[in-house]
């Protein structure tokens, strides 16, 4: 996000969860089916008060599990109702089966995911293992650096998911506690402007269209399943352009500009770090410190993880010598985290072939701070100097 002009006097102090709940009030979905889980709970609680106070006309379904939250949302989205839910960690894991059904049935559900470590052992704090576990589920995944981005991503997610060229569900990811419970100044938009921006929920066919009955979720065998999955893959490819054009439209409305990713001091950088989520703020601060010491380091903050913007990433990083990819999730593949694996695959085609190494950090809410990022950048500088990698995967901030 880059800011054009904003007067702090027009902002409101909100936590990330409050900002997301506020966005849901403004979207005013026809149906919300949700279940509480830390650190998402506040979203559900706050939204429930909107329902109780008559601020929204939403049918709120207080389901008995996340599995039923996603199941009911599939049912309502297929019935011509703009439908949302929200979750975290184990809740997302419990939905896993139905995530694929939501995307395979091409239902434009929007879901904030307040990122939290997956059990076990149980831990309620931030990492990205939940969202990364769903990375192949056919959902659009937008990551947010702060409450403002989470708020802004919500409206854009609705438009992206419902776009006729896309018709895929979308997750808006925000870091648990760090964003969800941290209070920031958030610039909100007028309700009317939001209504106009998102428009009415339109799908071609609804289950409630009893005059034209359709069968949804049929048995799809060897003769058709593959074509349907191929079409789904193509929708994900098409979504990239849609995401960009909706970001442009949103910029006109809000003055805040969004892309597939954000570059920070990357133009002349020799060392690049790639991050997702709230760590970008800490990284930006550290980069400023290190730049003052003459280290040419920059950052690429990825906003759109699905679809993975491989062409753009390849171009944006082609000129650097070393890339440090920060993963707040391990994949237990023995070759690093998910962001690393994918980015490394992308850079294989790059003529310049920068050296790429992985830093897994912050699991289970382990603090990431400027000192650790500085340590990482200094190691990357050593790699640059040596012209070769010592290892693919590094663990940052862990007791070995």
């Amino acid at each position: 996000m880059s800011v054009v002009k904003q007067d702090p006097r027009n902002s409101t102090a909100l936590t990330g969860n409050e900002a997301v709940a506020q966005a849901m009030r403004q979207i005013e979905p026809d149906v919300v089916a949700a279940y509480p889980i830390t650190p998402q709970t506040e979203i559900v609680q706050i939204f429930s008060t909107y329902v109780s106070d008559g601020l929204v006309n939403t049918e709120y379904v207080p389901v008995e599990s996340e599995h039923s939250a996603m199941s009911a949302t599939v049912g309502s989205a297929a019935s011509g109702a703009r439908s949302m839910t929200a979750t975290s960690a184990n809740g997302l894991a419990l939905m896993w089966e139905i995530l694929y059904i939501a995307s395979g049935t091409r239902l434009p559900i929007v879901m904030p995911v307040v990122n939290r470590a997956l059990s076990g052992p149980i831990n309620i704090h931030c990492d990205h293992s939940d969202a990364m576990g769903a990375r192949d589920s056919g959902w659009i995944q937008l990551f947010s650096e702060n409450a403002q981005e989470a708020y802004d991503n919500m409206f854009q997610a609705v438009r992206i998911a419902e776009h006729p060229d896309v018709r895929l569900p979308a997750m808006v990811c925000l870091d648990g506690f760090i964003i969800s419970h941290g209070m920031e100044n958030v610039f909100t938009l007028e309700d009317n402007a939001i209504r106009e921006f998102i428009g009415d929920y339109m799908i071609e066919r609804s289950l409630l269209d009893v005059e034209q009955p359709m069968t949804l979720g049929p048995l799809d065998l060897q003769d058709f399943y593959f074509e349907h999955k191929r079409a789904e893959a193509e929708a994900m490819v098409r979504s990239k352009k849609v995401i960009q054009s909706i970001a442009e439209e949103y910029e006109k409305l809000s003055g805040r500009s969004y892309g597939l990713f954000e570059e920070y001091k990357l133009d002349d950088a020799e060392i690049a770090i790639v991050v997702l989520g709230s760590t970008a703020g800490t990284a930006r601060y550290t980069i400023d410190q290190l730049r003052a010491q003459g280290i040419k380091v920059g950052m690429l903050k990825l906003r759109v993880f699905r679809p993975f913007p491989f062409e753009e990433l390849k171009q944006a990083l082609a000129h650097v010598n070393v890339i440090g990819v920060m993963d707040r999730a391990d994949s237990f593949s023995s070759i690093g985290g998910p962001l690393f694996s994918e980015l490394r695959a992308v850079m294989y085609d790059s003529e310049t072939r920068p050296l790429i190494t992985n830093y897994i950090y912050g699991l289970g809410g382990r603090d990431i701070n400027p000192r650790l990022i500085e340590q990482m950048v200094r190691e990357l500088a050593d790699v640059q100097e040596a012209g070769r990698l010592n290892q693919y995967v590094n663990y940052l901030g862990v007791r070995e």
Binding site: D30, V31, E59, S71, V74, A78, S83, G217
Partner: protein, 306 residues
């Protein structure tokens, strides 16, 4: 006036022939009777299972009404979402028709894996009818035991062998559990008593709030019985009181059918291959226990309905 066969025969059939259910399967009758019991438009949800896979092989469908299959364990949650959409859009004036909502599931999708989803949807009070077609095992995957499988039954995961006589446990009394949810209408029915089934479905559609129907539905393949035996075996199930017909309307229990000549469990079980091994020497005690348990449950039901 309550539904009768003459009236039922005039109702449009909402499932077409040509579906791929086995000859002699019980659930096509269940679908026909249930959906014929209302003249309002109906939206159907269905759990993964025989009913779903035999009626919706893409690009074909046997359903003449809107239909959604989501997964195995979430038919109730899915239809609860459809019903929530209906409530929302109706309130906003975007839908004006009166529409009814039905979720179907087999016993595996209802008693076992879909139990939580069902319980939740009933407790939340959605205006929907949940229909379980109970054929007493996971038939779609090839006859594995469920918590609805009767004691002594042979299934592929409780095979009768040299030291085991089939399923060791009694079946779960799901209908009573659903009655304990305090919902307006719960009933047990069978494909042998079609008017009773249709009338119960009519009541279920007409109550304000959730209703649950548990319908006895034979599986010729899983039970190892002739293809033309569905009605007779269902009748035997009610005449032996293994599957009593009853309803619980706003908490009031009522027995719908008291057999004039109660038949023995031996008489009923003998007709089905799934119980054949129980008639080998040495299993008399098991059969006696099964009979005693059925008698005890029947007495309990009569007391509840006093």
């Amino acid at each position: 006036m309550a539904l009768n066969l003459k009236e039922l025969a005039k109702r449009p059939v909402r499932i077409s022939g040509g579906h791929r259910a086995c000859a002699g399967c019980g659930f096509p009758i269940v679908i026909k009777m249930i959906l014929g019991a209302t003249e309002d438009p109906v939206v159907v949800g269905c759990a993964t299972g025989c009913m779903e896979v035999t009626t919706t092989v893409f690009p074909y469908t046997a359903w003449k009404v809107p239909f959604i299959h989501n997964a195995f364990e979430n038919s109730a949650a899915t239809i609860s979402g459809v019903e929530a959409a209906y409530q929302s859009l109706k309130r906003q004036g975007k839908v004006d028709k009166e529409i009814k909502f039905v979720a179907f599931g087999g016993d595996g999708g209802t008693y076992d894996i879909g139990f939580q989803s069902l319980s939740g949807a009933m407790e939340r009070g959605h205006n929907m009818v949940y229909v379980c077609y109970d054929n007493g095992a996971y038939m779609n995957t090839g006859i594995q035991r469920s918590s609805a499988t009767p004691r002594g039954s042979h299934t592929t995961t409780t095979p009768a062998g040299k030291v085991r006589y089939g399923k060791k446990e009694y079946r779960k009394d799901l209908t009573t559990i659903m009655a304990a949810h305090g919902i307006p209408y719960v009933a047990q029915a069978s494909v042998s008593n079609l008017v009773d089934l249709a009338r119960k479905a009519e009541k279920a559609f007409n109550v304000d709030g959730p209703a649950f129907l548990n319908v006895f539905s034979p599986c010729r393949l899983g039970w190892n019985v002739p293809a033309d035996s569905a009605r007779d075996i269902s009748k035997g199930a009610t005449d032996s009181c293994f599957w009593p017909l009853f309803e619980v309307e706003n908490g009031v229990w009522k027995v719908s059918y008291k057999p004039r000549n109660k038949i023995s469990m031996d008489d009923w079980m003998e007709s089905q291959g799934r119980f054949r091994h129980l008639f080998k020497p040495g299993n008399e005690g098991i059969r006696e226990e099964i009979q005693a348990q059925v008698d005890q449950q029947w007495e309990l039901l009569l007391k509840r309905a006093e």
